[in-house]
Amino acid sequence: MTQPLGRAGARLLARFAKSSSVAECSGAAGTAPKVLAAAQAGRQFSALPEPIEDVPPHPATANPAAAIPEELMEMKGIKLSGAPLYLDMQATTPLDPRVIDAMMPLMTEQYGNPHSRTHMYGWESEDLVEGARLQVAALIGADPKEIIFTSGATESNNLALKGVANFYSGKKKHIITTQTDHKCVLDSARYLSQRGFEVTYLPVKPDGLLDLELLEQAIRPDTAIVSVMMVNNEIGTLQPMKEIGAICRKHKVFFHTDAAQGIGKVPVNVNEMNIDLMSISAHKLYGPKGIGAIYIRRRPRVRLEAQMSGGGQERGIRSGTVPAPLAVGFGKACEVARQEMAVDTAHIKKLADRLYNGLNDQLQHIVLNGPQDQKQRYVGNLNLSFAYVEGESLLMGLKDLAVSSGSACTSASLEPSYVLRALGVEEDMAHTSLRFGIGRFTTEAEVDRAIALTVQHVSKLREMSPLWEMVQEGIDIKTIQWSQH
């Protein structure tokens, strides 16, 4: 059980070899005392703690190779020869080594509570957190005072919708979102609709883009907030933020966007786009899991009702101790993303094109879901339907490839994706889709391997597919009277 994790970790660390301190510290696995020793060496203590005695390694981790043969590890009944190659960057991204470097001191020696007022630990921690706030703000063209740290984009989305709706509930009773927004936005909207709010779920065009005329028509005098996802998590559609922002500003309606999939990947400026509230997640841009932020505009001021009672941290909007190591990692991830965006985009676009063209060269009947124009999509997301092959069986075959069918939140259910259905993708095609996510650390060799594996398994499954056989025989599948099951 521990071996796959261990191997994945080793693989990641090999990638991070450039970043010296991390590789040294964590490279010697299972030696926590050494890390502490290293930390002690790097910092002067006014009173040294007693050295910790060496703890013998846990039997399970001592020699994982002894438990499972080298070639064979088994998880969930699937035998694997090694960690699969990771192409699921919309689900989450690995930490950038620069981010780990930034976080490490806060997890070893600078562990103070950033809200502590009475000693150096608190003061230095607060300084670091405020520095991170500045880095997040700089990436989106905001004032640091407009950044509130949360646990992630789900919390931020909840806070934006419920917070604004509840604060303005005296006058405003209407909320607008889209059918393809993230489940947490849709679920928050549903929660509000059960409490007296009216919600309009706007349909989208077949490429996932919002019809701006429909949006303008849907706005009413009592509309409190419009929430439109910036980059769709399943199909990568990039909504026209500037235009939507202009419409919302014209009608004096607050504009919220779930930008979890967009921040750090596409240029964002909250003022140019007239964004009033925005949800951000750190782990989608090579930062740590467990932290995100909500941007809340100060001029004109957006007010909202806090969802959590407590010590009044984060300007009373989000009580609870700010996790300083995560915040600092998040800040660093934003800084790195700002510096590397052009390089990242070029790298990811090159690999995405390589993947798409490589698959198309060897397989027929592949459909790219979402916009075909690269300007209207985030290029690192390729949602492809392989006609006449069922997605779940393809995933089972592609066990050496970590990809996703539908979004990670819905892939546990047997239903085809609600996003693809909102686009009008026919159900048989919706059952055949896979999402390939390419990121900063994806390599050309990985893409080539992914092409080879996908071609191999799609071809194998098509040979087994009665639908593929019919198509080869020239039978139109749509004319067949299927026995509904």
Binding site: I78, K79, S413, P466, I477, W482, Q484, H485
Partner: protein, 174 residues
Amino acid sequence: MLQSLRCAAGALRESSAACQLVRPAVAAAQRPYHKNVVDHYENPRNVGSFGKNDADVGTGLVGAPACGDVMKLQIKVDEAGNITDSCFKTFGCGSAIASSSVATEWIKGKTIEEVVSIKNSDIAKHLSLPPVKLHCSMLAEDAIKAAVKDVQAKRAAAGQAASPAADEKLAASA
């Protein structure tokens, strides 16, 4: 949910309720596949096709692309009603592929009377299918029955076509 409703609405057959029962949008926790499912998925038995117009071939085509499962199971039957060969092609999840692969193995060498008594529960048990995958084994059972029905219908049609011709011959000779 919408899909299961649609599927159920279009359903006419006896086992159609399966779609409604088995396909609600309940989040099923990711379960490990049983080793038998993995084995049949990775090494499917009897993949292929027989000529569907051949007189000794019975074809069962069940399921629907919109539901995510289509199964085609074929049998070759001799004069005595023995299944001498079988094959399948399946569009569906790993459990659906495994169910049809198992079905083709089990029916080979049996008579068409025997195989219609194969129960979906036997296939499900052999593959340790979780509740959300039971429809795969039901589909396999349906495919067997449909294939047997098809070959019986062919025989009956051939019998009817043959007997008037034979009568004519008799009349001519008399």
